[in-house]
Structures are given as C-alpha cells and as structure tokens.
Amino acid sequence: MGIAVSAAAQAREHPPIGTSGPIGWLRANLFGTWWSTAVTLLLGWLLLRWAWGLIDWGVVHAVWTVPQTPQGGPDPARCRALQGAGACWAMIGDKARFILFGQYPYQQQWRPALCVLLFIALYGVSASRRFWRRELGYLWVLVLAAILALMWGGFAGLPFVANDQWGGLPITLLLSTFGLALAFPLAVLVALGRRSRELPVVRLLCVLYVELIRGVPLISLLFMASVMFPLFMPEGMNPDKLLRAQVAFILFAAAYLAEVVRGGLQALPKGQTEAADALGLSYWAKVRLVVLPQALRLVIPPLVNTFIGFFKDTSLVLIIGLTDLLTAGKVALADPVWTGFAREVYLFLAVIYFAFCFAMSRYSRGLEAHLAAARSR
C-alpha cells in the first residue's frame, strides 16, 4: 500500500512535459512567444535554404578532379561546363601548393612546409602556461633563426633560395611573427617612456611616435617602406622589399603593442613600484623584477588579440606587391587556365586565415577567463 502511494507521488513529481527536457528547451529558447516563433521559423528557413545551396554548390555539383590535357596541364573543361553551378575544387588541388608556398622552387617546398609547422609548434609551446619562463625567450630566438636558415638554405646541401622567391603562407607567418617578436621589446621601451614622469622629452617623443603611427593607415606606412624608404638610404644601399615591409610592420606593431603594454602598466597598483623604490632598487631593476613580470601577465589576452590583428593585416602587403598568402591566391587566379574560379580560391584562403585567427581568439578568451578566475580567488 505504502509503496503504491509513493510510486504515485513519484509519478506526480515528474515535471509537466512542457517545461523541461527537449520540448521544454525548445519552448523556452525557440518558440517562447509568437514573435520568437516567427524569428525562429524565418531564420530557420533562410538557414536551411542557404545551407542547402552551399552543399549543392560545394559538394553535390562540385568537381574534384579534372583530366590532363595531352600537353600535361590540367584541362578545366569539366569545371567550365558547370557554369558556376558547382565548385571547382580541382583548381584548388592544382594550385594549392602555389598558393601556400608561392614561387619557392617546387622540389624544395618541403622547407617552407616545415617552417610553417615550426611556426605552429612555436605558437603551441608559447600558448602553454607551463612554458612561461625565461627559456621560452631563448627558444623563440632559436626557432626563428632555424626558420630563416631553412628558408634561405645554402648549407648542408640545401640550395640557396633568395627571399624574392619566398611566398605564400610562410611570408604571412614570417611578417606577423617577426613583427611581433621584434616590435615587442621596442613596445615595452616606448610604453615605459610614455609613463616616465621625470623625462618629459622622452615622454613627448614616445607620445608623438605612438599617436602618429596609430593615426595613419598601415597602407601609408607600407607605401612609405616601398617608395620613400629607398630615398632615405645612402646611395648603393637598397634593402629588399621583404625587409622594408618587415621594418614597416615592426614600427606599426610597436605603436599598437606599446598601448597594450601601457594598459598593463597602468593597471599595476602603485604600491608595487613604491615598495620597489623603498627597497632601494634601481629603475631598471624595478622594471625588470617587479613591474614587467606583473604588468605583462595582465596584458596577455589583449596581446593575443593585437597579434590576431597583425596576422590579418599582413595581407595588406598585397598592395605593395609582396607575395603573401593572399597575393599568391590572387596570382593563382590570374592563371589563364583557371580564370573565373575566384570564389573557390577566396574560400580556401578564408578557411586558412580563419583557422589561425579562430584558434588564437579561442585561446585568448580561455586565458582571459582563467586569469579572471585566478584574480577573483
């Protein structure tokens, strides 16, 4: 008897079907009000139609391979026959290595590929908090030197490849990573200079530098590097285009990074510097041992976000004619065999850029949450 009653009571304790479980979730999140229902239906319909269109274009009607012509080149006739109804992935298959590595000698393209892997490994190691110590700095120097050596070659039987033949993804990674690595020390100095109260002249110079660079578009700096820089060099000295663009990037990045670092310096409680002064530390000892270790830790998430910005901004070298990933894609489009398949190429490029930027932004958000949790403990 008693058992039966409790069973009945249990049955009654089940929540009504409409407020929990999948149906409850649907009601709460998709069909709460008539307004919400209308939005859901409209968006759902648009999404389905669009997704179907994409699958239809990118999978169902897509051409994955094309036959060879008697001359040995690819024959795009099958792609042309589609007249835009399906994607021509065969073009990406044919051009992927050019887009990724540019004019780099075909037989040697394992070298830039290895460099890309080294870059990714370097990011991966730097992302892990376990490795945040002094040795990481040495590792960066070592890996970046190894990457340059591998790209140039000229030793151990590797043929020398001049850097006007470099191209594609390695250029994008080189410009952004070297830009960050070399701009960072400069940025720290500029941020400290901007904060110094005892040196008004230095502060003024730092303010001028940062505001001038941040006030003008990156393109004008790249133009400066490509057309104005040679005018300022002594006769006979003409650094190549990649180096000039790299210098422009470093100057650009340093101004933005300096502002990020300054944010970290400002967030540091004043008591820290006062305590360091009270201990009788010299200025540089104070900065090195007390201020920077704390301030930089605070600004790692915004630093990653700034780095994402640089990574995307490297695509601007298209305008001064350097072969980075985007330029290589555009050059591939100009191939008369494959002309007219721009959507496929741009989609391919977008996926690569997205993969890098998305990974970094997820990482930055996770780190931010972690640091916020650590602070509030």
Binding site: E198, G215, V216, P217, L231, S361
Partner: protein, 401 residues
C-alpha cells in the same frame, strides 16, 4: 592631500629643495643627460636621413616642394563628388576628390556599421537561441577573416553580375557589373527650399525638446516630443515643397549603346568597399555593444521588468542609455579603424585619397610629399573624429556629484 592637511607634521613647509649638483649621482643631472642624449640621437637620425634624401633626390632629378599641386593632373577619376576634368583640373583638385571620396565612404560606413552592429550585438543577447547563435557565428567568422580578402571577395562577386546589356531590372533601376544605376531626382529650387525647411525643422525640434525638458523638470508633466519633432522635420519640408507647387521629376536611366544614359550610379567599387567595411566593422561594433549591455547590472533589467516595461522598452529606455557610457570609448577607436581601413580602397580601384595620392606620386615622383599628404589627411580626419567623440562622451558621461 587630506592626510597632509590633517597631520600638523606634514604640509607646513615643503621639504627643502636639494641643491643641484653636477654629479652623475644626482638624478636631475642624470635625467637631463638622458634627455639631451635622446634629443641628440633623434636630431642626428633626422639630419642623416634628410641628408641622404637630399642627395638621392638631386641624383634622380626629383623636384621638391608642393608646386606640383598647381599643375594639371591628367588623372582620370571615375567617381567625382565635385566637377573634375582630367584635361584642365590640377593635382590639388584631384586630391580633393580623393579626400571627398574617402569621407563619402567612411561616413556612410560609420552610420551603417553602427546600425548593423547594434542589431547584431542585441541579437547576440536575444532569448531566441537560433538568433543569438547566428549572431555569434557572424561575429566570429567575419572578425577572423582579413578585411582585404573580404573586399576582394565582394568585388569579385559584383563583377560576376551580368554586363549592362543583360542588366537586371529592379523597377526603374538597373543592376549590372558596372554598378547600380538608379533614377536621379531632377533638382529644382523647391527642393532646396524644402531642404532648408528640414534643417530649420531639426533646429526647432531641438529647441522644443529643450523646452519640454524644462517643463518636465518644473511641472513633472512631459509634453509630447516625438510627434512634434516628426511633424517639424518631415511635415515642414513637405509643406514647403507642396506650397511651391510640388515639382517632381526623375531622371530615369535608359539603355544606350553598351551602357546607360541618365540616372545616378552607385559604382561596384563603392558598393564593394562599403559592403566590406560595414560587414567587417559591424562584427566589432556588435561585440562592443554586447559588452556594453552586459556591463549594465542585472538589477536594472529586473527593476525595469518589475515596473512592467516590456523587453524592447527596457532595452531602449533603461539599458542602452547606460550602456552608451561603456560603449562610446571603444566605439570611437572602431570608427577610427573604419576610416583608416577605407584606405584599402586602393586594392579594388576605388579612388580614395590613398589611391589618388599614389597615382600622383607615381606621376610626379615626389614620394615624400605624396605620403605626407596621405598622412596629413588621415591625421586630420582621426583628430576630428576623436574630438567629436570626446565631446559626445563628455555629454553622456555620468555626472557625479
């Protein structure tokens, strides 16, 4: 400060100034030396670079100075906000066209990106799961793809439109790979008067709103503001136009040869640049709006809900005005970014200031002057936007007593 005033041991007299010694151990000497060294290094660098530049320019027979501004440019310009003729107009006028084109795309971009971004930002917080997910995907995807790639994509897409001969009819307008051809209004004096009336309507509405607020403060009764403002801003010009005989004439485009005659054109370059800038920047604006709304304490929502306001009304009347204080500083830098990003126009052939200045420096060889012009223009625009936004920020900032 307060401590110094309260404690008689402090504040009575400043600490004695230490005498300045000419020794490396005196911080003042050290600071002076460091700053003198900094000035010397910068001056030496400038002197060295200027010397090189002078020698190089002389060796290449490149003129210096801005005299070229008064020469005939001969640069064909497709998009002309003010009348321009390549055969007679000067470089100065060509550059002015570029500046106006930059302003044209930046201002439209700022307005549209703000509107789109605000909607997406609000949509991210919407109770509807599908809507908020889609908004999140929009933000995430568009922020992680370089703007230049997006611009090229939109431009390519617009170029795949049919040629003018097979142009798509959209009512009286034509859509083709030469852009969108719209019917233009034939401007008549009555329209100028109506525009003036609209301006007067705005001024009168502001005055009325001020009076209404004063009245509300005095009596607690709020006179209607919106109906009056609508009547003044829309009704007044319409009335003026009707009184002057309601002239209305359209310049409808027609096919002619390989192109069109009549009407006004939105070029594909302008459309692609504007679309790219708006869609890209809106993703950032959406994040700013979202974090601004989230910064408003939950209690504000709950209190407003307890008063019986609906979600839309809460958002409009309670949350957004408070969120605005958090939103404005980052929004300012986003507007600046959009303006600077409009310089990517050069990649798709829209003739903004960067594009025209770079053509100029190719024709004259005067790279230093050309780049100086680009930088000066952007610095002036950046400063203007910053000043305006700082003024606005000061207006909406919380005034604490």
């Amino acid at each position: 400060m307060t401590q110094a005033a309260a404690d008689p041991r402090y504040g009575a007299a400043p600490p004695p100034r230490r005498r300045w010694r000419l020794s490396w151990n005196d911080p003042r000497t050290r600071n002076l030396a460091v700053q003198a060294a900094a000035i010397a290094v910068v001056a030496a660098a400038v002197w060295y670079l200027a010397g090189n530049a002078g020698r190089n320019l002389a060796a290449r027979h490149i003129a210096t100075g801005f005299a070229f501004l008064h020469r005939v440019a001969g640069i064909p310009i497709a998009e002309q906000p003010i009348p321009y003729d390549p055969a007679t107009s000067t470089f100065a006028r060509a550059l002015l066209e570029g500046v106006l084109n930059t302003l044209k795309v930046s201002l439209a971009g700022i307005v549209l990106a703000t509107i789109l971004g605000t909607f997406v930002g609000i949509a991210r917080l919407a109770p509807n799961w599908l809507l908020s997910r889609l908004a999140a995907v929009y933000v995430e995807v568009l922020r992680d793809i370089p703007l230049l790639l997006q611009l090229l994509f939109w431009y390519t897409l617009l170029q795949t439109l049919p040629a003018p001969r097979q142009a798509v009819h959209l009512g009286p307008a034509f859509l083709s790979n030469r852009g969108l051809r719209l019917p233009g209004l034939v401007w008549q004096p009555a329209h100028s008067w109506a525009a003036l009336a609209a301006l007067a309507g705005v001024v009168l509405s502001v005055l009325w709103a001020r009076r209404a607020r004063a009245r509300q403060d005095a009596t607690g009764v709020r006179p209607p503001v919106w109906p009056v403002a609508v009547a003044l801003i829309i009704g007044l010009p319409v009335a003026v136009w009707a009184v002057l005989g309601a002239p209305l004439g359209f310049d409808v485009p027609v096919r002619k040869g390989f192109g069109f005659a009549g009407g006004v054109t939105v070029s594909p370059e302008y459309a692609a640049l504007l679309a790219g800038l708006v869609i890209y920047t809106a993703a950032y604006v959406a994040e700013i709006v979202r974090s601004g709304i989230e910064a408003v304490p939950r209690g504000q929502w709950e209190a407003a809900g307890a008063l019986g306001l609906r979600r839309g009304a809460i958002l409009r009347m309670i949350v957004l005005p408070q969120a605005l204080r958090v939103i404005i500083p980052p929004m300012t830098s986003e507007y600046l970014n959009l303006t600077k990003n409009s310089s990517l126009a050069v990649a798709i052939g829209y003739q903004d200031i960067v594009s025209i200045a770079s053509t100029t420096l190719n024709q004259t060889g005067q790279a230093i002057e050309g780049i100086a012009i680009i930088m000066a223009v952007y610095l002036v625009i950046s400063l203007t936007i910053s000043l305006f936004m700082n003024w606005y920020n000061a207006r909406v900032a919380l005034v604490e007593r």
